[in-house]
């Protein structure tokens, strides 16, 4: 079985966001593999390690620096990587065309994709890819087992947790709790340098964008910052209740 796992390189959550000329500027910031995608990579490796004969292929679509993210994932244990190089900003509906075509070209049966993107805060890529391939999808997956052609596990739904069963091929989007992603070891980092990382260009895919990105800005809401000293707890509590009742008018 071939497993495709999506890898997106995003701003480290601890870094602050800088805007330049109406765009988020990532130059000089620490970039990491999106945590939600790491769950997917880890799960693909676990499927392979569980005795299922599988090849794990990592896919990244984006600028050249994405190859750092792919090398990280190869060092975690992915077998090979594909990098579709582009400087364009791609919305998930557009991007899903690339992912679906790669999945078809590579005869993939299982795709892992992050449940929510840490940069574009989107949930759409996994579902859009599944639709293009006419595959079922499971979103927010936090438990997964492979039995032959059947996947079972559990995922988070609107109002609680559900257990599921679905036949391959399928798209799985990840959620916290699915696993604890491993750290690449030094020998594996060395080995990863020799693994195949194939570079393709976006032009090979003959597709067009769906959305135009106009601007980005950091809009911090002005807050009142009325912070009281709590040494005298009853007095501070009484004053806070008074402020919430009569000034903010948010409680009765």
């Amino acid at each position: 079985m071939r497993i495709l796992t999506l890898v997106r390189q995003v701003l480290d959550a601890e870094e602050s966001v800088r805007i330049r000329d109406g765009e988020v500027d990532l130059n000089g910031s620490k970039l990491v593999v999106d945590t939600m995608d790491e769950y997917g990579v880890e799960q693909a490796l676990r499927v392979r390690e569980s005795g299922v004969e599988a090849e794990v292929i990592a896919l990244a679509v984006g600028p050249e620096r994405n190859q750092d993210a792919l090398r990280t994932v190869l060092a975690m244990g992915a077998d090979r990587a594909i990098h579709v190089m582009t400087e364009l900003m791609l919305d998930p509906i557009f991007l899903s065309q690339v992912v679906a075509q790669v999945a078809q070209n590579e005869n993939v049966e299982l795709i892992f994709c992050g449940g929510q993107q840490a940069d574009w805060d989107s949930h759409a890529l996994g579902a859009a890819t599944a639709e293009r391939l006419q595959w079922p999808q499971i979103t927010w997956t936090n438990g997964l087992e492979v039995h032959g052609q059947t996947l079972t596990g559990k995922h988070d739904a609107e109002d609680g947790s559900e257990t599921f069963s679905v036949e391959l091929p399928a798209v799985i989007t990840t959620q916290q709790g699915l696993n604890e992603p491993r750290y690449p070891t030094v020998p594996n980092i060395m080995k990863a340098k020799k693994k195949e990382l194939r570079v393709e260009t976006l032009e090979q895919f003959h597709i067009g964008p769906k959305l135009k990105f106009l601007s980005a800005e950091v809009q911090a809401k002005t807050r009142l910052h009325k912070i009281l000293d709590g040494k005298d707890a009853p007095a501070a509590a009484a004053e806070l209740v008074r402020l919430l009742r009569h000034e903010a008018r948010v409680i009765a």
Binding site: T139, E158, D229
Partner: protein
């Protein structure tokens, strides 16, 4: 037409449905603002939304008793095509954000995901949305004959039910076979109001000390205020609270009138789920906790003293 897929839960129309109606009215695109009700035994839901929409399409079918992404996407895309919809509005709930990309692909439409504002300028839709864990506001544009939009809960003014009762029409659907079998459900039953529907949310973090501390402080204050209860990832991971209460990047996003954070330091991932709340209140012993930077009101002090004192004050 502008097609709005009605969201409801436990036999009640969700707030997001009225917000979508409000969004559709404010957009003012061509054609009737049309509700689509999908489900089984949904006559009461359809009558309720008939007071807000221009027309109501109802697919009341045993096959629709349980939500499924592929079934929902097929149904919505079919109705959008048949009705020549220029806009399809879907709620920003977890399921809405799960099946809406499929609808977009089926209609070869762009997707404006989790929009906080949408404006039509000469047929082109421009939306604002939060990105980078809700720290950035981005503006994107979709220029196409039909656009799929999911709206962020709490971002749009809800439309009020009027005196006009819209006509209802039954629709026939060609539904695909379900391929995902749901073999079990574990739903946390809570007597409290749902997190995403509540005007006030009281949330607790590691600073409450223990599961018992959470019950006394966070649930105690929430009960006093008729509020929903939220939690940080750290204490959900610790097993103190169920996942359904988690607020943040991998949990729920809330935007209540008041968010009261008790013993929460304010990690970026948590802030992304609540930073747009109208009024933020923090109680924490660490004056340097990041949560205070985005707070309107707060107390630097011991939650074990402050919160019981607040509960006592409210009971006066």
């Amino acid at each position: 037409m502008i097609l709005v897929v009605v969201e409801y839960a436990n036999g009640k129309v969700s707030k997001s449905t009225y917000e979508m109606a409000g969004c559709a009215r404010q957009l003012g695109r061509e054609g009737p603002v049309t509700a689509l009700v999908l489900g089984s035994g949904v006559a009461a839901i359809a009558s309720e939304v008939a007071l807000v929409f221009d027309q109501v399409l109802v697919a009341d079918h045993a096959d629709l008793a349980q939500y499924d992404a592929e079934v929902w996407a097929a149904a919505v895309a079919q109705i959008a095509r048949e009705g020549e919809a220029n806009t399809v509005l879907i709620g920003g709930s977890r399921s809405g954000r799960e099946y809406s990309p499929r609808v977009a692909v089926k209609l070869d439409a762009p997707l404006l995901e989790d929009a906080i504002s949408v404006v039509d300028a000469n047929g082109t839709l421009t939306a604002e949305r939060y990105t980078y864990l809700a720290r950035v506001t981005e503006k994107v544009e979709a220029d196409a004959p039909v656009v799929v939009v999911t709206i962020k809960q709490g971002a749009f003014t809800a439309a009020m039910p009027g005196n006009q009762v819209a006509e209802q029409f039954d629709v026939d659907l060609n539904l695909p076979q379900r391929r995902v079998q749901i073999t079990g459900k574990a739903t946390e039953k809570s007597s409290r109001i749902a997190l995403t529907e509540a005007d006030i949310v009281v949330s607790g973090g590691r600073g409450v000390g223990s599961a018992e501390g959470f019950a006394t402080l966070v649930e105690g204050l929430a009960d006093q205020l008729g509020a929903a209860v939220g939690a940080t990832r750290a204490i959900v991971d610790a097993g103190w609270r169920p996942y359904q209460e988690q607020v943040g990047q991998t949990g729920k996003t809330v935007q209540p009138k008041a968010y009261i954070a008790i013993g929460i330091s304010g990690a970026v991932q948590h802030l992304s789920g609540m930073s747009k709340s109208k009024c933020i209140v923090a109680i924490n012993k660490d004056a340097d906790a990041p949560i205070f930077k985005i707070s309107d009101y707060g107390i630097v002090g011991d939650v074990n003293q402050i919160v019981p004192a607040m509960i006592a004050e409210l009971q006066k």
